[in-house]
Subunit: 341 residues, 4 copies
């Protein structure tokens, strides 16, 4: 059986490394390019020490010369939008892991990212399969969702679509790999360990991304607030979704709603019996666990979701999108269970 | 200058150890008893290895024989209420670190703790100096606040008293020492590390404690929800306080309100210039840091508070109460700065 | 192609969970039994939350009724030797992960494990493929090596076989999953985090296991000391192998010796260019990384080895042994790269 | 009682912060200067968030203008030696925390630090009170010991002085605060957590410092090797001291030797009853715990020592030296117990 050729553009960071970790065992993929401007000619294992026996070197091809069936762009926002049109012109399908094509209105992008959008004409499909599976099948350009939005949206969809709530408070806790590969005071071990850092309160760029997607459902006007925290964990985002029920609905009813909503999803698991979604359960896997659904005596609903920020929150979801685009089994390359303990 | 005699009842756990750690350097205190039924005659350093050169042994006196100016009861709830009346009869002042005397209505206690209250006649002062300093001065029995309520209440008081909000969502993140000294699956390192565990959602016992105190302020009917999470940190509680402004108020106005409210407090610090309260800043100290006050574009106010759960959240606050009760400088024994990094 | 039937006896612990995590994706294996006396009828995901979508329940068959091509015994030492003969009688091949059959002389076992050996007549092959690949092919009973011995032996073999040293000091650092699934004071997060615990100094049971294997090489009398430390890491053993060169040999010469020795090994990687073996590089994989080979100016040689204690140190190596025994590709089921970061 | 004036030069890093943390509560000290070239005028709490209520700002005085009874130089090596002579000329006593004055032979310094020594004429006392208390009393310039050497020397002294061994292998495990305040790939949380990094094998600068001190004792020719490891801990150095007994000596005899040797030391504690020295026991305190003394059946002696690298391994020991130099109680400012848990 022939394999498709894959390019990973900007492969020196954590999402690039994660794409390689998963794709080296994908049965239908040939990794043709892994690019890095700064590391041309270097073995990938020099930056990704877990890939010691993977025989790949970083290259630095001209964008016009990238000849691949699918291009994963793991470049930073701003940089990605400059190259994506060329890859599309080359005839590749493109899955962009940056924020550049996630908004239907480029003005929203420009406001929150503070960068001019130079390709507002390009239309992308927001690559959350739980929402857009059919559109993804035929898409040429996928905007792969942000890590926080993946957990926030999946934990909210059923109650928003069914108009059970009018305000949602997302309190997210992320592992430090979400800060990327470059060290800083924030990620310095003596500062980061045994500590919790709330950040970008009321101002995080993932806020409008969550809002745009949720406003496509239900009455379209649910109020969404988002507050991220950095916790001393390497991988994972735990989303605590607080909302306020408009009517008297039991936790069991809400559970049944979620279970039904996601019953055919290959990776989104609604946990029975009040089982807790845990970062430790999804570590390294493409699963999203949802559960611990509770209602208190003042009408607050809590829903918990757990993902691995680098997998379902980034590279794994990108591969899931690729599988859908090319008609592969959606689980190909993504069958590994989480690493517990 | 003469010193007061102190008894620590139930000194084998973390709050007992912490009382010793702080009191051994208190200028006006003589530690007369540190009790443990299971460890009679054992050096305290056998259980608290940081106290290697402290020459104290656990004893197991009859409650009637405990002759001390002040008794700290670090017993579990349920056990504490059995002994506290005797200590009062002996003429001691009592600071109880359990939940037994925190509620004005014993029925609330019985409902949430699922234990019959055998001394409903005893009245205690809720030992949060920021609320009750004057009452504490003359109290014989102090109900030392719970760890979560300390952060939750201090982060809420100014907005509740001023009726700026009608609903508060407390999303708390606690270090594992809050689970106490006894090991369990939950606190097993391979499970607990690199993980986050939400727990007791919509059912935690600290919920009614937070509510009772806050209902004494403002209109008395603010709706309070509380969700705790266990994070891989040894010490500290970070409280993320989400509320919803009834009117259009700026973050700066809210900041000024908090700064004014706590300006004379010796341990509650309102941080300027959007500085972040961090567990790493208060580790081992009796400080409560409040800050990062923000308002988003859908009217959500966020206030962050950080405490060390074993100090301001337990033993340090107990000593602060003792200092107030005996007319000592409120900072005596509590002057050490946090341990950073 | 038909698959072999596998039984995992004692599947509730970490090595049992790890066997399942890896075997569910093994192309030639059908998991027929996963047993647990205490958890009969329970979904495996109740204990192994990473296996949420694995449709397996614990069973509790009579040993005589276990009909499998290969039995992995993940029982504790002492318990395992009672059942292994029955599995062999049933016609199964057996891979025993306990210490029960690791010693050629049962008296050594009895001395260090303080248990009478009730089946001294059974002969097992020590299942370290790097030593015994040919014997493993035809074995009916494999004694899967201990976690510490795997790193200790692999880091020592070339210098012992070539008689370069006469004394070896193994200073090992293990992750906490090595302590197993049951919580204790030692593994209690507040004690274990931000701490290091040396233990069983001069008395650990893995000492004679390391010695027996190494005494089969070279002059047979190398002096081996072993000191383990528990470090706040979930997975992995870093072995620091200190030895003393009898003659003047350069680090480069020693490196070349190791590179040649292991050049055909599928999982033991000798790292070039002074790259450091790291736990983070092998996490979740069956790789053993060896490197950082150095000689100081007083004749001390240092060799570093890194493994995941639950994979190459236990369940992965057991699967590697199974692959050899059944003529499968030695990497089947073990192709996943380490999880970094 | 009058207080002495103290200057802390280079106070922006961890050792500077730690000096402040401890000295703000020292009864006989007035902190007159805390200097930082880059942070002139900034509140110390901007860099040391645990010092929120400490009213000190960084200044940047001309070295000639520093008028203090004692100067702590917390500058990097190389930078320190340029300023120390000026502070001495000003009439201050100087305690230098860098490596610049730790060697009697400047050529050793130049070889291992690869820097020309511009003040070889200055003689300093190596500030390890357990060795040099009498000399420290009259010294004008103290070379405060390195963090690793403190643990290595204290764990070795009795056996070297008594010539029980002729080779010592120091295998040290350090917390990440030892790497200082500046972030790097090595200290990046996702790399550093759940990992162990051996480094500078056979080449660490603390090797000659350990050797010079130990060669002053016994026969003067003990062979010392040193291998450091970075472990995911914020504070602390655990020293595993492996040596080889020349004669048949029991662990009990060695224990008695250590207990006697350090019996009058205020901070060096030899633990009875095989108690384990632990980082968690000394965290934040100036104590050095020594214990777990064991002898195996091939003549290897193991001694374990635990210190906090920032306290007994740096700033606390510097204050201990100051107390000795000025005739204060040696424990002044250093009475706080370790922070456990």
């Amino acid at each position: 059986m022939s394999k498709i050729d894959v390019a990973i553009i900007g492969a020196s960071g954590y999402t690039g490394g994660e794409l390689m970790r998963l794709l080296i065992n994908h049965p239908k993929v040939n990794i043709k390019y892994v690019t890095s401007r700064k590391n041309e000619g270097v073995d990938v294992s020099a930056l990704h020490p877990n890939l010691e026996d993977v025989d790949l070197q970083f290259s630095n091809p001209e964008p016009t010369q990238v000849d691949a069936d699918v291009v994963f762009s793991a470049l930073p926002h701003g940089a990605s939008m400059k190259l994506v049109p060329q890859f599309l012109d080359n005839g590749s399908k493109v899955i962009d892991l940056s924020g550049d094509f996630r908004f239907s209105d480029p003005k929203v992008y420009e406001k929150w990212y503070n960068i001019e959008h130079i390709h507002p004409e390009l239309e992308a499909v927001f690559g959350l399969p739980e929402i857009n599976r059919e559109l993804i099948k035929d898409a040429d350009l996928i905007a792969n969702p942000g890590c926080f939005p993946t957990g926030a949206i999946l934990s909210s969809l059923p109650i928003v679509e069914n108009e059970l709530v009018d305000r949602i408070v997302i309190d997210s806790k992320t592992g430090v790999s979400g800060a990327g590969v470059n060290p800083s005071q924030t990620t310095h071990y003596p500062v980061c360990a045994d500590n919790i850092k709330p950040y970008a309160i009321a101002s995080h760029r993932h806020t409008p991304e969550i809002r745009e997607q949720l406003h496509n459902f239900g009455s379209g006007d649910v109020k969404v607030s988002f507050t991220p925290h950095l916790v001393p964990v390497t991988r994972g985002i735990l989303t605590t979704n607080h909302s306020f029920l408009k009517d008297d609905v039991s936790a069991e009813d809400v559970y049944n709603l979620y279970a039904e909503y996601y019953k055919d999803e290959p990776f989104t698991q609604v946990l029975k019996d009040n089982k807790l979604p845990l970062l430790a359960s999804v570590r390294g896997s493409n699963n999203c666990q949802i559960g611990a659904i509770s209602v208190d005596d003042v009408g607050q609903l809590v829903v918990i979701a757990a993902i691995d920020n680098l997998v379902k929150g980034a590279s794994g979801q990108a591969i899931q999108n690729m599988n859908i685009m090319f008609g592969f089994d959606e689980k190909d390359g993504l069958r590994n269970a989480g690493l517990f303990p």
